[in-house]
């Protein structure tokens, strides 16, 4: 238990990567969006995908935690399992805290009418536009999901290098293509459309959470035979 915490502390020692940059990037993206909204206002309010930048960054962070930070981590006398879990739990903790931060910012955005320029930066259409606890939960799950997904990418790269990475991406695309083809051949687009129309945000959170857990387990299985 103490070791898990120490693994988390190890990552956090890199304050730039784990504290300064995420919020720095978010702030930068936000400012750009505010300026643009101020200059070019649109009547219904701007729904930007600006928040996506933070998730993309976490993907990269996750990958780095399993590539750049791994060799020294394992040198410190922890098993791969403990290293992975410690890292995974770090982002769970950070995700909870940051999710709360995003929720607060969303409330502020709502209160100021989009920061006075009608910007919907923290209010992402539909999935993060509801009650505060829903926003919190959604942000939390998404933050963890992207980081854990990134961890898996990092591990695939470690074990199988660029070739493996490409194969990993190709495999996922293949799965998506197969799904699309299957639905098409079964002429079930109507059902799919119905599904997405009727699914509630909480249910979607549940699906995302399940996906996150699956990604986490995938990474855990991959790290078992990683050598440094």
């Amino acid at each position: 238990m103490k070791t898990l915490v120490n693994v988390a502390r190890y990552h956090l020692a890199d304050r730039v990567t784990y504290l300064a940059l995420p919020w720095g990037i978010l702030a930068f993206s936000f400012l750009i969006n505010v300026v643009i909204s101020g200059r070019l206002p649109s009547p219904q309010g701007d729904y930007t995908g600006g928040l996506l930048t933070i998730y993309a960054y976490l993907l990269v962070c996750g990958a780095l935690s399993m590539t750049r930070a791994l060799p020294f981590g394992l040198m410190l006398g922890v098993s791969r399992r403990v290293y992975y879990l410690g890292t995974a739990l770090l982002i769970v903790a950070l995700g909870a805290v940051w999710g709360l931060g995003l929720t607060v910012l969303q409330a502020a955005e709502r209160a100021t009418g989009g920061w006075g320029v009608g910007l919907h930066f923290f209010r992402v259409a539909w999935i993060m536009d509801g009650p505060w606890y829903q926003t919190w939960l959604t942000s939390f799950v998404l933050l963890v999901l992207f980081f854990w997904y990134g961890m898996w990418y990092g591990l695939v790269y470690r074990r199988w290098n660029v070739v493996g990475l490409v194969a990993f991406i190709a495999a996922q695309l293949l799965v998506a293509v197969v799904a699309i083809v299957t639905v098409s051949t079964m002429h079930n687009w109507a059902a799919v459309g119905h599904f997405f129309a009727t699914i509630t945000a909480p249910a979607l959170i549940g699906v995302l959470a399940a996906l996150t857990v699956a990604l986490g387990l995938g990474g855990l299985a991959t790290i078992r035979r990683v050598t440094i």
């Binding site: 120490n6 502390r9 020692a13 890199d14 020294f72 040198m75 006398g77 922890v78 098993s79 399992r81």
Partner: protein, 295 residues
């Protein structure tokens, strides 16, 4: 007493090469063992398997009686300082601090002393350090951890002779004050020969020598002098090497030579020179893989 490390028929093969082949050895607690051999002999692979960083393809290894791979209880009792260690992008001081959290026997006092001895800049980022200084960081961690099993794999890349001697002195001093099991792999053999209690030589993935250092010293002697006298003296002894120049000869034979033999050599005006550990290694590594050097 349970050996600290116990390898049985350990093997590791890669697609195009055999790194370790049928390696069986034990390392006793509270000793300094030298793991010697040429580059590519398998020293690093062996140490990586012992520390769970690599997996064997044959045989098995036990550390403190248990399988080391993915075994947190065992892993926390070890520290492995590698030749080229990748560090995260942190300052030297942070790296040392992080290490201190993980080792139960960590000595902050020793760490500070070593940091001063090696003149390491705490505030500089580790990736900006010279190769020698990076090696010094590894040594600081390796020694201050005071781990029950401490492994050094050629830890002095880039360190000059003065810094190396500092390492040996500090290692010896701390080992004497806080005994632990040390395995040191090196090809600067003559520098560490006197530190070693036990010697293991690997060649092409196999163990060619595994003996107490005292036995190894004097394993072979070079006898030089006039040809006839030399040949008369070495008659009946296993010869390792023969060299001639006109009427002088230099023959290396299996030792040790007892007092009587030494006296006889003196009487014949022959010069006796024992083979150093380094020369022994050169010979052992040159020997066919099937022959074991008997000590």
């Amino acid at each position: 007493m349970t050996p600290t490390i116990s390898a049985t028929a350990l093997g590791r093969r890669y697609r195009d090469q055999v790194a370790l082949d049928n390696v069986s050895l034990t390392v006793e607690p509270d000793s300094i063992t030298g793991l010697l051999g040429r580059n590519g002999a398998g020293k690093t692979t062996l140490m990586r398997i012992v520390t769970g960083q690599e997996f064997p393809t044959a045989g098995d290894v036990r550390v403190f009686g248990e399988v080391p791979a993915e075994n947190d209880a065992v892993l926390r009792r070890m520290v492995f300082v590698r030749e080229e260690q990748t560090y995260p992008d942190l300052r030297v001081g942070h790296v040392i601090q992080v290490a201190s959290w993980f080792y139960p026997n960590w000595s902050e006092e020793l760490a500070q002393q070593l940091l001063a001895d090696f003149e390491l800049p705490l505030r500089r980022r580790i990736k900006k350090l010279s190769r020698g200084m990076r090696s010094a960081v590894g040594i600081v961690i390796g020694l201050a951890a005071r781990a029950e099993l401490t492994l050094f794999d050629e830890p002095y890349a880039g360190l000059d002779a003065v810094a190396r001697q500092l390492f040996y002195d500090r290692l010896l001093a701390d080992f004497a004050a806080h005994p632990r099991t040390v395995v040191l792999s090196t090809h600067l053999i003559d520098e560490v020969a006197d530190l070693l209690e036990h010697v293991v030589i690997l060649d092409r993935g196999r163990v060619v020598l595994d003996a107490p250092a005292d036995d190894v010293r004097g394993t072979a002697m070079t006898v030089s002098g006039p040809v006839t006298a030399v040949e008369e003296f070495v008659a009946g002894r296993p010869v390792w090497h023969r060299q001639r120049l006109a009427s002088r000869a230099s023959v290396t034979v299996t030792g040790p030579l007892d007092n009587a033999a030494q006296a006889r050599a003196r009487a014949l005006h022959l010069r006796l020179e024992p083979l150093s550990l380094q020369q022994l290694l050169v010979h052992a590594a040159g020997t066919s893989a099937d022959e074991k050097v008997s000590a």
